[in-house]
Symmetry: C2
Subunit: 216 residues, 2 copies
């Protein structure tokens, strides 16, 4: 449906019911969905090894979460059973390199997968990255991202949840259902957005008209 | 857990509670999961075009459902945006050719997908198949398989469901949840088995220890 029509309808309803815009917003508090493909966060040290000393990544486009962006650069990742080419790098650089793959990629690479939150890398498998100027073998940092919802403090207050809480999400549509074990990531720097990966989105038939409902 | 241990435990419980084996079975009525990759059912007419007049497929291995088997032969499928090689053919031949792909394959091929039950092909997209002796362009028959549960009459009685009924399934584990819109396919020729595709299995973290619970 047209976004402008939605807003107009909302405003009319607000005037009719004599509600404040804030109250209206709460009634239609929708959670946008961001669908992730496999991607990599690199440390500057590993950027240097893969792309050359002091190399700076080229921003391709901003992501919804403030300060996060997709880079023009990609690398190949390689495990004992196979390689996956053109894996997108996301910026900015982080303290530790982290490779987020799909569950199905684990079979191609020949690596068992662990579903983890971003940054929780202890004991996860390693993998080899190949760039234009060199390769890097990381001993840990290969994960399947745990589904999660980014939100700001006001959103957390609205939903009555806190950072780190585990909730479920209900997804509508003909391939809909409920996904458990969705982590809340609430902090000042975040915009409301539910992150799932391509396999989760495909399995649940997620498209631009999909609605996400938080279940505690 | 060891299957033998399970059976032994069950028998001991049955003796202790003085139950008949049938009643015991009902208490632990587990639904096995079969995970499907993309595959093709061919008509004999299309077998002739792709592999040569009167060609007979070579059985590679039997599937759990009686009379169904995977063939040694594969073909390439091709849409306006790309091709997918080595798509497995399942036997025996059917009255109409049907190509079952993953949701993600639709993007590669450049074809919108429709989630349908096997055989319900009216109005679905077409696709081109390329074999060693020729190619076939079907005008409809490209589907994403709707998740479903095969079962015999006794299973249907146990679960209190009928052929064609729509249920949900609950999947345990760290990536678990509930999948809606699961069709019951109950008939004399079927063995109890829940069919989901690779993307659904990956999204829900399904493995050999996963338990499926039917929800009405």
């Amino acid at each position: 449906m047209d976004k402008h029509e939605d807003v107009l309808k909302l405003l009319i309803e607000a005037l009719q019911a004599n509600l404040t815009p804030t109250e209206v917003k709460k009634d239609t508090y929708e959670i946008p969905v961001g669908v992730s493909n496999r991607h990599i966060h690199l440390s500057q040290e590993d950027v240097n090894r893969l792309f050359g000393e002091g190399y700076q990544m080229t921003k391709l486009k901003d992501l919804l979460q403030p300060g996060q962006y997709a880079c023009k650069e990609t690398v190949t990742i390689c495990g004992p059973k196979g390689a996956i080419e053109k894996v997108r790098i996301l910026g900015p650089v982080r303290s530790k390199t982290q490779v987020e793959i799909l569950e199905g990629d684990g079979f191609k690479l020949g690596r068992g997968t662990q579903t983890r939150m971003s940054g929780d890398l202890q004991g996860t498998p390693g993998i080899t990255l190949i760039g234009p100027k060199g390769s890097v073998q990381i001993n840990e940092g290969l994960i399947v991202a745990q589904r999660h919802i980014h939100m700001g403090p006001e959103d957390a207050k609205h939903f009555g949840v806190h950072d780190g809480q585990i909730v479920s999400i209900e997804i509508n549509g003909p391939r809909g259902g409920i996904l458990n074990n969705v982590a809340i990531r609430a902090n000042d720097a975040s915009i409301l957005e539910c992150h799932i990966d391509i396999e989760e989105a495909n399995a649940m038939g997620v498209n631009s008209s999909t609605k996400i409902k938080l279940i505690k």
